[in-house]
């Protein structure tokens, strides 16, 4: 999710050319408008209730006649697909968006969907596998042929390699939901799970959560500017008991990938916050991402530095 394209040589050159200056201003204005528009997002208000239970979903899965391989999904293995659905139901926190992909937002979304409507999820996946198209919460999904061909082929992504239902789910979500980060890369090509094709900005994440979970979503923050709240810790702490809180963070500060001190200050990762507590200057976070929970200690200063979006979702 780096923004290097904005600073590419083409734009630097354009800035020095009088005839193109107006266009550059227009592009910058559009860009600023897009991220500032995310500053405070109120999604449509829908009843935030549990729609179905895990037990209902397991009972449904046990009853259905699991089909053999389906030519609509040439690389999805039926056994791996249904084993994966069963795992998703038994361990809803096991969704794994894969190593080095841009699927983290869809991973966080999966966690929320499984809290609200596991039966809806398993019915949707079954129909999608069977017919190649299906609806979830009144949203119709008809994935492209390229996506249908890619499901089941993702490799070297850790356990996602053998989770064919999750591969299908993440690819289909990325194919359906688009934000401005996907503007230049809308059509899936091999390897696009790691590129801007799969990237998610804050506004897109809010829309996805609101539509898929049918719940009220309130977000503060944006894609470039940190939340306009006095103390992010207090803000989060007040909401975590009565809501589900998701954070949009700059993971490169806490999960360094090189030794350079100067880093782009941009968010890169979505997590579901499970617990937060402060002792002195240290904040202990416990969050869900990548199929499991992580506990981490950071200073209050680092916490302020990494948080770009605080998304409050009705339980």
């Amino acid at each position: 999710m780096n923004l290097s394209f904005l600073f590419s040589s083409g734009l630097i050159f354009a800035y020095h050319s009088n005839s193109l200056r107006t266009h550059l201003k227009l592009i910058l204005f559009t860009y600023l408008f897009l991220f500032l528009a995310d500053q405070e997002t109120f999604a449509r208000v829908l009843p935030g209730e549990i729609i179905s239970t895990k037990e209902e979903a397991i009972a449904f899965l046990e009853k259905i006649d699991q089909p053999k391989e389906n030519i609509l999904w040439p690389n999805v293995k039926s056994k791996l697909f249904y084993d994966n659905l069963k795992l998703n139901l038994e361990k809803p926190g096991s969704f794994y968006p894969g190593r080095s992909t841009n699927f983290c937002a869809y991973g966080a979304l999966s966690y929320l969907v499984m809290q609200k409507d596991p039966l809806g999820y398993v019915k949707f996946m079954n129909e999608l596998y069977d017919k190649g198209e299906a609806s979830f919460n009144n949203i119709h999904f008809k994935p492209s042929k390229e996506v249908m061909k890619a499901a089941g082929t993702l490799k070297f992504k850790g356990v996602l390699d053998i989770r064919h239902a999750e591969q299908m789910w993440f690819l289909v979500l990325a194919d359906k939901f688009k934000g401005y980060l996907n503007f230049f890369d809308k059509k899936f090509h091999q390897g696009d799970e790691n590129t801007f094709w799969a990237a998610t900005n804050l506004g897109k994440y809010d829309r996805m959560v609101s539509k898929m979970c049918g719940t009220h979503v309130k977000a503060v923050g944006s894609d470039l500017i940190k939340p306009w709240v006095k103390d992010p810790y207090t803000y989060v702490q007040k909401r975590i008991d009565s809501n589900i809180v998701s954070l949009y963070i700059n993971n490169r500060i806490i999960h360094k990938k090189n030794h350079d001190k100067v880093k782009f200050s941009i968010p890169t990762h979505f997590i579901i916050l499970r617990q937060i507590r402060r002792e002195g200057n240290l904040i202990t976070l416990r969050y869900w991402d990548y199929g499991g929970e992580t506990e981490m200690q950071i200073t209050s200063r680092t916490f302020k530095k990494i948080v770009f979006g605080i998304i409050t979702i009705d339980k």
Binding site: F13, L80, I162, K256, Q297
Partner: protein, 198 residues
């Protein structure tokens, strides 16, 4: 306009020609003994209590320890001279002496990160060990850092005529790990040059 073109050309030249150069072309052969011993020790310790280690500072004083269990991954950063590191390892039943050996050896040989990855062949799980080294480099102002990443497989792998790691013998498809193409050192060990250590 001409001034702009000259300015743009200079910037482009600076960005493209001054890429970081690794001083030694033969890092693995020169440090084979130490690097292999780090991998062997990690391979012995990791299955008992899974973990990964990373040096997150340039001076190799701050270590990030990830302690991985079925239910929770704990990530803590320590100065290697702090008692907290030993206390934490003891608290969570890690082999303190074994991990201190790794911490020291990694610092001495500039190994920045060690971890294990699961991957699948014919839907069966396999494991590899990956470690990154911060070599001596000549680095220019806008150039990115460079690291050497080494991957240790447990079984022999397939490579094409250019020495690139392949998915398997039949497909001849180049296998990328973390988006990188890897090259043969031995049938079981391969390397790449990367801008990120993990």
């Amino acid at each position: 306009m001409i001034r702009s073109l000259i300015f743009f050309s200079i910037i482009s030249l600076l960005l493209t020609s001054c890429s970081t150069k690794i001083v030694s072309n033969n890092y693995y052969q020169e440090h084979k003994g130490t690097v292999d011993s780090i991998e062997r020790r990690y391979e012995k310790l990791n299955p008992v209590n899974p973990f990964s280690l990373a040096y997150t500072d340039k001076k190799f004083n701050i270590v990030s320890l990830e302690m991985i269990s079925d239910t929770l991954t704990r990530i803590y950063e320590f100065n290697i001279n702090e008692n907290r590191l030993a206390d934490t390892l003891l608290k969570y039943n890690y082999d303190t002496a074994g991990i201190y050996y790794l911490v020291r050896k990694m610092k001495d040989s500039k190994v920045t990160w060690i971890n294990s990855f699961d991957y699948y062949v014919n839907d069966r799980p396999q494991q590899l060990i990956i470690l990154s080294i911060k070599p001596k480099t000549i680095r220019y102002i806008f150039s990115p850092p460079k690291y050497i990443a080494l991957v240790y497989f447990r079984t022999n792998q397939y490579f094409d005529e250019k020495g690139r790691l392949l998915d398997d013998r039949r497909t001849k498809e180049v296998r990328k790990i973390k988006g990188q193409v890897f090259y043969r050192i031995t049938d079981r060990i391969c390397y790449t040059i990367t801008e990120k250590y993990r």
